[in-house]
Symmetry: C2
Subunit: 326 residues, 2 copies
């Protein structure tokens, strides 16, 4: 009993208190404090991941931590919010001891510095099942400038940041496909799966430009479907315009049947948004200013549903339009 | 795959969307919005519970939901904050189907109305292990009026709301002790364990009165120890003054050795606070106005540590000073 008591406080003191910002009150209080800035809104998002479902139990703990944090930062970016803080809850099996936790906290610490955020608090419990890690992230946006999913209008163009399909191909490599792929491509694609790059600069910069936005987590077509559904519009996506990384093109050249499926894969955590045609030059300037590729891939139409099409407008059938849990 | 996809959205639509407030955006977006009131701070707290550790897997889902919510509301109250919203994360095993979820959501809905709060959003994942439920709760406090643990001063009196030990005795009854206890006492004590009463009115009313506050979750002596440690003071607690419910007194009369142990038991979720002597009349008036028993049980002293004493000032030895997980 005494050892267990020491355990909780010692864990907090050693691993988590160094991650806390001023609002976390040293993780010594019942709750944390967040200052409210006049004219702003707080943006709140939450994600949970389970060992064996969302990551492999022997994945490096630093990478598990960074991915958990980054998928939440991506959700904030998709609302146009600047990230501020997070709350962490861990339910861990007994076999994950101090070494695992130290590495997990190290990953959080690295990304905190990178993204300028801090820990507010949380809870640690034990479970007899697989680890369940959940994180609530906080960002801020000028009130009224938040970008929701429901603002797309017929005539808007559809844009996506970065490249699509890398994470899916990276997971495939981890599972043994294309064992002969050159190591630089292999390393790139696996890293895109393990450590996504949340678009924390681009998201807030799109306030006042994008009419609807989402991050690509279920799959590009499925996520565009979420925008269409809440905006009560349809969309067409020209699959040939899908931005692929050099490494992804190498894999697709080896296995051409993969190409149309990349539009249906998730975990890219790129920003997918719609904007009026008149915003196109501003978007191009933003792309060049932030040094982030932003590609026009389709347009919003009256009606409902997402139509993947070829360059000639012909409908292309795509196997499945997204994956998720439950 | 398709059934699983429908599952997640259908779950959200059926069970959780009806619980969402305006800031939850119908649970249709990447994140939720919280308006910031000028001159206020947001207070954030989080708790996780695991089936088989914090509750029994066959406990009524309504009660599991209400307890999860209430322990978080208690943490907000302990900072002097008024509750506003919450974020819910569930990791559930496959055997907990729609019936369990419907009852869980019903419990949340009842308490939302009771405490005037709403759901912002969250995440649902599946696990092969026991259910892990976690909740992040949001409250607000006028900036600078929050009550922390670190403000206790020598000479302060120590006060506690309600009665202490009921939850511990209720758990004992559930585990088979005192099978002959009259059913009204049995029902009362079990209910105190299953559905704690967070002091959401008293907490904010103590802003400007209490110098340090915590809610009793680890055990009265352990929690007072947390105040002493962060405030860098000591305390004495007169065990005879510990407020017991009528039902608890009946059990203690049957088993007198339980009495001193009640000061070391947790899960009461009463407010434990210190205040200068001059505030005593104000506290008595507040007690009568809110119709909540508030009892003076000890005082803050220079030094360190919590001393349980008898009426004559003699030190009393208490078995253990708190319990917690890990």
């Amino acid at each position: 009993m005494v050892a267990e008591e020491l355990g909780e406080f010692e864990r907090i003191r050693r691993f988590f208190a160094p991650l806390a910002g001023p609002g976390g009150l040293g993780l010594l209080d019942d709750a944390a404090l967040v200052d409210c800035k006049a004219g702003h809104r707080l943006v709140v998002t939450a994600d949970a991941i389970v060992a064996g479902v969302h990551y492999l139990p022997d994945d490096p703990p630093e990478l598990v931590a960074r991915k958990l944090l980054r998928v939440n930062l991506s959700d904030l970016a998709a609302m146009g919010a600047r990230p501020l803080h997070y709350v962490l809850m861990t339910a861990l099996p007994a076999e994950l001891g101090p070494e695992w936790l130290a590495r997990f906290a190290k990953g959080l610490g690295e990304d905190q510095r990178r993204f300028g955020i801090d820990l507010l608090g949380g809870d640690s419990v034990s479970t007899s099942g697989p680890a369940v890690l959940s994180l609530t992230a906080f960002g801020e946006v000028v009130a009224g400038m938040e970008i929701r999913r429901n603002g797309a209008k017929p005539g808007d163009l559809v844009w996506v940041s970065g490249t699509i399909g890398d994470a899916f191909l990276g997971l495939g490599l981890l599972r043994g496909s294309h064992p002969d792929l050159a190591s630089e491509h292999r390393g790139y694609l696996i890293r895109r799966f393990q450590v996504p790059e949340p678009r924390t600069e681009l998201g807030p910069a799109l306030c006042g430009i994008a009419r609807a936005m989402i991050d690509v987590s279920d799959g590009l077509l499925a996520d565009l479907g979420h925008i269409c559904e809440t905006s009560e519009v349809g969309a067409s996506v020209e699959l040939d315009k899908l931005p692929l990384s050099h490494a992804a093109r190498v894999v697709v050249d080896l296995e051409p049947s993969l190409r149309p499926r990349l539009a249906a894969t998730g975990d890219d955590y790129e920003l997918l948004f719609t904007a009026p045609v008149a915003a196109s030059e501003t978007i191009a300037a933003l792309s060049s200013h932030l040094n982030i590729r932003i590609t026009m891939i389709g347009k919003i139409e009256p009606g409902a549903g997402v139509r993947p099409v070829a360059a000639d407008g012909q409908l292309i059938s795509v196997d499945h339009t997204g994956y998720r849990h439950f």
